[in-house]
Symmetry: C2
């Protein structure tokens, strides 16, 4: 990529249930697509369990290396929800009840229902600002360049909408896909390597499909870059080279 | 967990397509379930793009910290398949054509089809041994405590079968799930916290469902541990405490 100003991001997935295989994570994919539309590149993702030392270590590594860090999971009312405390420890700040968060939760729960466990969800590291949760009200929070969100995908996705205005956006990445039918990656690898070598400012990916006998065999070639004209030109050149090798293609 | 002898593992997902959101990763979940059945705990996972420096950094951090590392992606025939070279760089060894891998690939492809790109798939870091690929033949490889597998899920899953006999297994983790219906996490958090506090050698997780209005609302309580009798006893105690609070539950 030639645009060095594009913001970078990391994603930190928190939860034993992901590492045990009990739950299939879908949040990384949703965050990556959301940030892609804002021109922000996700450079790395990590998944750790519900252990404060692991969360602190990962968070401190990521928040120093990238412009933004997005975390998911561990902000509910139960004893295994330790993300707020871990984030406080990573930043070296106290975790206190946030008056606005407390007000939001008091409104949601009746006097008899607003117990100590639910009140824990108002605890935010000092200096943090809230991220709205239109689904179940209990807020996420932002501290410095770290955005702390829920793990339930429906809530996480809603929280992303609230934090979007706080992000510096980058130039959009343009994507063109060439669908090569009937041959595997190996048959077009030389043409693809030449195309990538000729345009070092673009990224060229190759993704086979149909391996293992499930239907049509072929390869998706994906060209990505921040200069749309260059991406289009690269797609045209590569398409012509494939066609003159008598390889059947479709461009999308 | 009281069993300190249980082997630990990390998963390293390699591929721009995961971080761009183009592809939803399913390999971490499959590996986690596979290793869970062998009593091996996945302690951390990372996802990096197709960049050698990022792969080397992540791999060296993980292979030093855990008993095993499992990587997926980047071992195909195209220019963006750089995992073998990155693993070689991480170990400080040369990457050379492996005679057995070469023989396997020569058998698969006819003389006219076995081009330079496909021949690249025979390159393995020195000291590596092969992991069989019954789907498309091109092998993965093991070097020291690192297992390098394909990114295509069907191939990756097949490779896991081949490497299983090489792994030291741990005591199985026993899991009991209590399904609490009609109340959210906040209503049972105190009972759950007391249960977890009474049995520090077990892990207690809480996972809400139905938030956001999609059907029945409730919470899954998951008790995990390597001593089956203790897990059963914890499940019985917690179930009784929930029932005496007039909370509707189902145990699975």
């Amino acid at each position: 990529m030639t645009d060095h100003a594009a913001p970078t991001a990391a994603v930190l997935i928190i939860g034993d249930e992901i590492l045990s295989g009990r739950t299939q994570d879908v949040n990384l994919n949703a965050i990556a697509r959301f940030l892609g539309d804002l021109g922000i590149d996700v450079a790395e993702a990590r998944t750790v369990g519900d252990r404060q030392d692991r969360i602190v270590e990962a968070l401190n590594a990521l928040r120093g290396a990238y412009d933004y860090v997005f975390t998911t999971g561990g902000i509910g009312p139960t004893h295994d929800d330790i993300t707020a405390d871990a984030v406080g420890a990573a930043f070296g700040v106290a975790v206190r009840e946030h008056p606005e968060a407390l007000a939001i939760l008091e409104r949601r729960y009746g006097p008899g229902e607003f117990n100590a466990a639910r009140r824990r969800m108002a605890r935010i590291p000092e200096g943090g600002t809230l991220i709205a949760n239109p689904v179940t009200d209990a807020p996420g929070f932002q501290i410095d360049n770290v955005f702390v969100m829920a793990g339930v995908p429906k809530i996480m996705t809603a929280m992303l909408q609230d934090l979007a205005p706080r992000l510096r956006t980058g130039a959009l990445v343009h994507v063109r896909t060439i669908r090569v039918v009937g041959v595997g990656e190996g048959a077009i690898a030389d043409l693809l390597r030449a195309a990538a070598g000729a345009r070092p400012d673009l990224s060229f990916g190759s993704y086979p499909f149909g391996l293992g006998g499930d239907g049509e065999v072929g390869t998706q070639l994906v060209i990505r870059g921040r200069d749309g004209a260059k991406v289009d030109a690269a797609e045209q050149d590569l398409s012509e080279n494939l066609r003159s090798s008598s390889i059947e293609i479709a461009v999308t």
